[in-house]
Symmetry: C2
Subunit: 337 residues, 2 copies
């Protein structure tokens, strides 16, 4: 029964999200000699008592960040997935991805160019650096807050060409409808949660550098310019999964808590929700929703640097934290933005 049992390496990968200055940021690791960024990650080891413990340990070593709540995202494990460097090509690599939420850590980085996070053990330290970076750097097509139809239409054109380029009639129809559904074309509504479908389509259409690399082909210049910033291995796929999951989750669970500071204005809260959703929201309705669901309460103080009338400072009601029935933020994109 266990004769042909596979030898497996298990990688633990963390997508750590914070929202700063109206941008959803992820904590990535980079080294000057390696082109692509990657998420904090490392192999599962003997001494790790649980998977989460292993993950936390790797994250702490690589970024000096201590994780709070962590949630399993997905397990990637197909043979043909992108091979990580210095690994036997025939060994199976299982990659367990986790999602963690946090406030942007003081330790690591500030507004975007980031500070250093020391590497853990000497052997892998090198000049490794952990920085926060907007997830839209990697998935620019997911940001629909401003209507820069420019890049979107280029992407759409490209995908349309790819779909129509299929010779088999049936497959062509299938491609066209998948593209329309995923990217909200031809009257279809844009569904912000379909991040992974969009990524997979772009990968399939080879608009993404990783798709060329995986096929052992040189990356065309046009692709390098269009497809957003690449990541190592399949980490960008993992990011797309994380974004989709998180966008779904804010609608039915109070996850914004873990991303906001102690006190905030309602507009600040809205900008955070919009940053994650990648879409503009209707202000009055957002406020009504938050208030009638009693997610927040006034602190009594006000924030005066609004540029106009000062805003009341709010805090989350502590009762909400312990997972009430359904205290998420149901949001619907405003057509105008």
């Amino acid at each position: 029964m266990s004769q042909g049992a596979s030898t497996v390496t298990v990688d633990l990968t963390a997508v750590i999200v914070a929202v700063t200055a109206a941008d959803p940021r992820v904590l990535v690791v980079r080294r000057p000699d390696v082109a692509a960024d990657w998420f904090p990650s490392g192999p599962l080891r003997e001494e790790h008592r649980t998977l989460q413990a292993g993950l936390r340990s790797w994250v702490e070593h690589q970024t000096r960040l201590r994780l709070g709540h962590v949630e399993q995202l997905y397990t990637f494990g197909d043979r043909d997935r992108t091979l990580v460097e210095d690994r036997r090509p025939d060994a199976r690599a299982l990659s367990l991805a986790y999602l963690a939420l946090t406030r942007e850590a003081g330790l690591v980085g500030g507004k975007g160019d980031g500070g250093k996070g020391g590497g853990g053990n000497a052997e892998e330290a090198g000049a490794m650096e952990a920085i926060w970076r907007s997830w839209y750097d990697y998935l620019p097509w997911e940001d629909r807050r401003d209507q820069d139809a420019a890049e979107r239409s280029v992407l759409a054109t490209r995908l349309g060409a790819w779909a129509r380029g299929e010779s088999d009639r049936h497959a062509r129809k299938d491609r066209l409808s998948r593209v329309a559904l995923a990217f909200g074309l031809e009257g279809q509504p844009w569904d912000e949660e379909r991040c992974l479908e969009r990524y997979e389509l772009l990968y399939e259409a080879r608009v993404i550098p990783e798709a060329w690399a995986d096929a052992h082909l040189p990356v065309p210049e046009a692709v390098r310019e269009l497809g957003g910033r690449p990541m190592a291995a399949d980490h960008r796929r993992i990011l797309a999964t994380a974004a989709g999951r998180l966008r779904a989750k804010i609608k039915y669970r109070p996850v914004l808590f873990e991303l906001m500071p102690e006190s905030f204005t309602l507009l600040h809260l809205q900008r955070t929700a919009e940053a994650l959703a990648g879409a503009g929201l209707h202000k009055q309705n957002f406020r009504r929703l938050v208030e009638q669901n009693q997610l927040v309460e006034e602190t009594g103080e006000v924030f005066s640097e609004t540029g106009g009338r000062p805003a009341k400072l709010m805090r989350f009601r502590p009762e909400i934290r312990q997972e009430r029935p359904s205290s998420g933020v149901r949001l619907k994109a405003r057509p105008g933005a």
Copy 2:
């Protein structure tokens, strides 16, 4: 970096769900010499090109069932999880669970006592048998369609006692609120999706035989009677995960399709939804929902064995199959049942 790398065995486990006669059934394997049932499963092998391929292969060998759409459920991998027989206790066991939907297969079993599904390879065949069994046999507390407050109140009493039995005041409060939230007590609404939370609580309170077995303790008789039918290893935890996931999913994706026959009456569809949700639904609302979302169309035929006025036979509209924006069935439990 990979010195302390763990040796890992990876198990693939399939929760295969069908709905027959108003009961959600899962396909389980049993052997006369083993007390507990388990899900079709087996170790990941060299020759499996993808994880799903490995899973399909095990399922086919053990049950002769060919799976359609399969979705990843969760990866279980903590050191202290229930140990599967004949495995070194120090080796790490990773368990990848998948969820599959199907119509109850003709090959295997009929109404509940089931037929035989031959084992694959001789070495593990034994007198292995695959049968369909209601998932409420394993998770009886999840069925709230009829108000048999009897067993529910026993469980609630038991959990209440466990919560109040905690000596530390803070922890006691925490337990009480978790129990109330998960089981819909003290004015809290019953949330049918919280299957896993309920299972975990029952496990923690040792109302579940597996909890005793994992702690290497003999199972008290009272527990054996109350806690539903046990399963091998942590398969019942996996089932709770599957049930929760599926209950959530019917609300936003058209998954009922994969469970219904070609044509059906609206009441039949409703009974299927109710079976999964474990709650009664309001008839008129259900019909309106299904109709105004244009999920179904009339076949033109009628079904006369209703006992009253014949019902129109319906079929799913084929357009729905290819994942429309949101064509699930939003259902809300009717207070009365």
